[in-house]
Symmetry: C2
Subunit: 342 residues, 2 copies
């Protein structure tokens, strides 16, 4: 005969108005939970006659002082900058950063398959890649907070930039210069979510619409992330019957690849064709690349601060914060009005 | 009245012909120690009537499954590549990579000052920075193996490239092209040891000597690491009464900075001045930079394998291995004979 429905930690959390992870920590005597939060959760547990399951007790065990950081490509500048910022924020709170590379599809599958059996961590940070439903469930099973840096991931609290705004800054600059035939080199990066791939491409379309320029879909090419992809994308745009006079590349490394193709084709930048990227990669300054700068290290640092706030029970429950840091146009030498005199 | 000198773990290790760390693990029932090694160490301990000190017992505690990796600059390509390789090797052995940034002098001092109080790890990997005597002693106090990647550090087992050979590959190429007045942009990176800063500069001198060209010390400028440094260094070389016809830059990022200065000065590369770097950074291919390629990710991977071998007690004791991976000249478009016709 089934008894009454078992009271779960979720019920306690809901009654106390906190997340399940916070409730777990509060009942587990985790030192970083605010006293008021702890009291509220205990009260809710008593009111509900909650008895912790063995699993919940395990999850609620003492803090490990470790935060797992999932990184698709540690050697790329963008992820390295996120890591630097994150490490600084976690270290300031005396937390260790445990690095996990989750690169290709197979690596990811293997990583997430054994995730629940992994050594414990106090929180997880996902660096700018899309998490599917199965992965989301795996992360949830850890019973700890998950925070995203470098873009929005699932419904986790996140720190990123507004890719649509960044794209508009790039596109509006080209349009203001007088360009009407503007190409877009979009990137497809397996498993990479952020910077939001749609945000920048939607900005291309919206900017043209606002300027009364009919968007020509032939002018949008999608390539694998990176310099080689950018070089290929530019070659495809040059092969059009009517090539663009300016190109908005998804990021600086893609833009630098596009410029290599232009140089090999004997075309001058910006006299024959303007190019703009996004990031303000250190090599953008060196190569005089016009770009839209985003503060990457700051995104990592701020995400680390969210982790620390979460562990202290100081994150507001309910709608998770999606913080957006500002981007800005950086004018350099790869953009000019179209048909500038030779 | 003092008793007889206390037998220490060092004595046991010496008698067993293993390192102190291995002896510690063998007595601590660490699962990754070869049975023969364990037997040898126990025998030595019994013969010497060794009684473990409380500290040694603590150090010899069970494995944590964690390896600390000390990284000066995670966002730089070189260190990111080392991390990628290292993570792959450690993960294959089910070891977690705990990342510690040890950047500027103050950060380093703070990090090493509290090192002994840190959470335990099974081993430490030092990524390409010089360790001073105090830091060396701190690391030794952890009682675990230390391995270096990206260059030789202290007397730790290490994986790197031969910087003198890499420098000779670059210099001999320029000399074969007919250059006689060759500049060198060396870098000074606080706390960064490897790639061995002296190895490349000594190659500059040795290559000139071997070619019967008197080295002119005015042609060697030393700048902070990075593109801006390279740009400054090139400007200094252009300010000489008799500027060089070719420049060997310490690394690709420095070389790209040098090329920016040349472009701004209205000089053509390679027609007016040849430039070569070291690394084969992904942007070297994109910018058509001639360089000497080094396998960075492989250095990280191999260092991870040394860590695993050490934990299994499979590292030969005595002289620590200093493995050198091969470098190779990659010919691209920034070098040509001097005075090539315009």
């Amino acid at each position: 005969m089934p008894g009454p429905p078992r009271i779960t930690l979720d019920d306690v959390a809901r009654r106390a108005g906190v997340s399940t992870a916070t409730a777990s920590r509060a009942l587990g005597d985790h030192p970083h939970v605010a006293a008021a939060t702890r009291a509220r959760v205990r009260e809710a547990a008593e009111e509900l006659d909650y008895v912790a399951s063995p699993e919940a007790t395990r999850l609620a065990g003492g803090p490990t002082g470790r935060v797992a950081v999932l990184v698709p490509h540690p050697s790329r500048w963008f992820f390295g900058e996120l890591l630097e910022g994150l490490e600084a924020a976690l270290r300031a709170a005396d937390l260790d950063l445990v690095l996990f590379r989750v690169g290709g599809p197979e690596e990811r599958a293997a990583f997430f398959a054994r995730l629940p059996a992994r050594r414990k961590v106090d929180a997880v940070v996902v660096l700018a890649f899309a998490v599917d439903e199965i992965e989301h469930a795996r992360l949830a099973s850890l019973g700890v907070d998950v925070v995203a840096a470098g873009g929005r991931v699932a419904s986790y609290p996140s720190v990123g930039v507004d890719d649509h705004v960044a794209g508009r800054q790039a596109m509006d600059h080209l349009i203001h210069l007088g360009h009407r035939r503007i190409g877009m080199i979009a990137v497809e990066d397996v498993g990479r979510l952020a910077p939001d791939p749609d945000g920048r491409t939607s900005a291309w379309r919206a900017a043209l619409d606002d300027a009364g320029i009919p968007p020509d879909d032939d002018l949008v090419v999608t390539v694998p992330w990176g310099g080689e992809g950018g070089a290929d994308g530019m070659a495809r745009l040059l092969g059009l019957r009517s090539p663009p006079t300016a190109v908005f590349a998804h990021d600086d490394e893609t833009a630098l690849g596009a410029i290599r193709t232009l140089r090999r084709a004997g075309l001058r930048v910006p006299e024959d064709l303007s190019v703009i990227g996004v990031d303000d990669h250190p090599l953008a300054a060196l190569t005089d690349l016009t770009t839209v700068a985003q503060p990457v290290r700051a995104q990592g640092r701020r995400a680390g601060e969210l982790v620390v706030a979460g562990l202290r029970g100081e994150l507001a429950d309910g709608v998770p914060p999606a913080e957006l840091l500002p981007t800005r146009l950086v004018l350099r030498g790869t953009t000019s009005p179209p048909g500038a005199p030779r």
